[in-house]
Symmetry: C2
Subunit: 246 residues, 2 copies
């Protein structure tokens, strides 16, 4: 029996999703919690290996548990009790034995938050990048929409990724302002290494007047990283949802 969990976390104090030497990762905390429950070693596989400092509301992670004695509907509560308060399991479901939470992901949605106000706000500072300059929201929205479609996103990819192809399809990319918070919501069939943070930086540059929104298709076509905007910091990024066809 394979179990698929929905996991939320504040990534501030973690070296990212993936377990590693000399740093605390979310994977390690989750594996430890499940290990305590099952009294044996456990390996979990995730939909997305989020970077250090990146947050999640809807990360997905699975593990095999033929020996699970807790009813599925109680699993989120039980596991959350074994987890630190900055990690929480919000749902659990059974999936087929051959299900793979990474390969089988059909769609991922991320949110990138920019706090746009003259002074920083400590109550949103953990979950947003602070930008004090005045921004052109219409230009940002126009830039955002230009990313929709199937493109080779080489220009929006940091080195160090392991993807076989750099073609991805973006289904939705919009900015929305809520008080002083500018939210970029982006949905696609997958994302390259740092891709959302570079797209967010490029949309920010459009808002600052550093890049004309009309140039986005050209920047994509150039396949040159230096033509795109800067990589935004990790703490503004939230993995919101992962969708499967199951």
């Amino acid at each position: 029996m394979q179990i698929l969990l929905t996991v939320a976390y504040d990534g501030t104090n973690y070296a990212g999703w993936q377990r590693q030497e000399n740093a605390v990762a979310v994977q390690e905390k989750l594996e430890d919690a499940i290990s305590r429950l099952l009294s044996r070693d456990v390996i979990v596989r995730a939909a997305s290996r989020t970077d250090a400092g990146v947050h999640a509301l809807g990360q997905r992670a699975s593990f095999f548990a033929p020996d699970l004695r807790v009813p599925l509907e109680r699993l989120p509560e039980v596991l959350s009790a074994f987890l630190p308060t900055d990690i929480s399991v919000t749902a659990a479901q059974e999936v087929p034995e051959n299900f793979n939470p990474g390969f089988d992901a059909k769609q991922k949605t991320y949110l990138y938050n920019i706090y746009n106000s003259p002074a920083p706000n400590p109550l949103v500072g953990r979950y947003s990048a602070f930008v004090p300059q005045k921004l052109n929201l219409a230009a940002m929205q126009q830039a955002a929409k230009s990313f929709v479609g199937k493109h080779d996103f080489t220009a929006f990819c940091a080195t160090g990724g392991s993807a076989k192809t750099t073609v991805r399809e973006i289904y939705f990319c919009e900015t929305e302002k809520e008080h002083d918070l500018i939210k970029l919501k982006i949905t696609g069939n997958g994302f390259l290494y740092n891709m959302v943070r570079i797209i967010a930086g490029t949309i920010l540059y459009a808002g600052m007047g550093k890049i004309s929104p009309e140039k986005i298709p050209e920047i994509i076509a150039s396949k040159k990283r230096e033509n795109a905007g800067k990589t935004m910091p990790p703490h503004g990024l939230v993995l919101v949802e992962v969708k499967y066809s199951i």
Copy 2:
């Protein structure tokens, strides 16, 4: 020249507003920042001595600075640079020499956040109390409205306060649901020790069916603390705004 600042902070890591021995307070951090700017000792006085763990978006604090060399409009940016990221100065204005940020406050607004969902959410957990049970929102709203008016709030006051009178006037008290977050917004001419947290606990009890909303006037009239609900934890509380007639 007296300067009045607007101050925002994430209270999680502080022992409250007021400077004290053996614990780090927001007042201390702010006084240290101003002292660095003016190269001398400084004392600031606040509108509200928020408790340990309580947050603020619109705390007000003043100090005397005949020797200030920085233009007022640049002061928020300069002071914020001397402060840790969980404290920020968002505005500065000049006030008369005889102004007192505590006594002269005409109106204070607080927000109490309850996260109401089966599983906790680490991204709002720092700024809300987690309540997994189903709640009756209509009963909470009815209970909230019953607090409006001029009352003796002895039943909603923890021991240890120093107020001369226990009569306060509430101008606004409403609950509002935004996704899984229930926000209690309350405005009054002042609040007794722990008053907002006890009112929030009483409104929560109304939502749980432990207290009938019709009984709130009786509970107020009883002047007995044991008739009201529990004191809610500090991390759900945010001081939003302080108003003056200046």
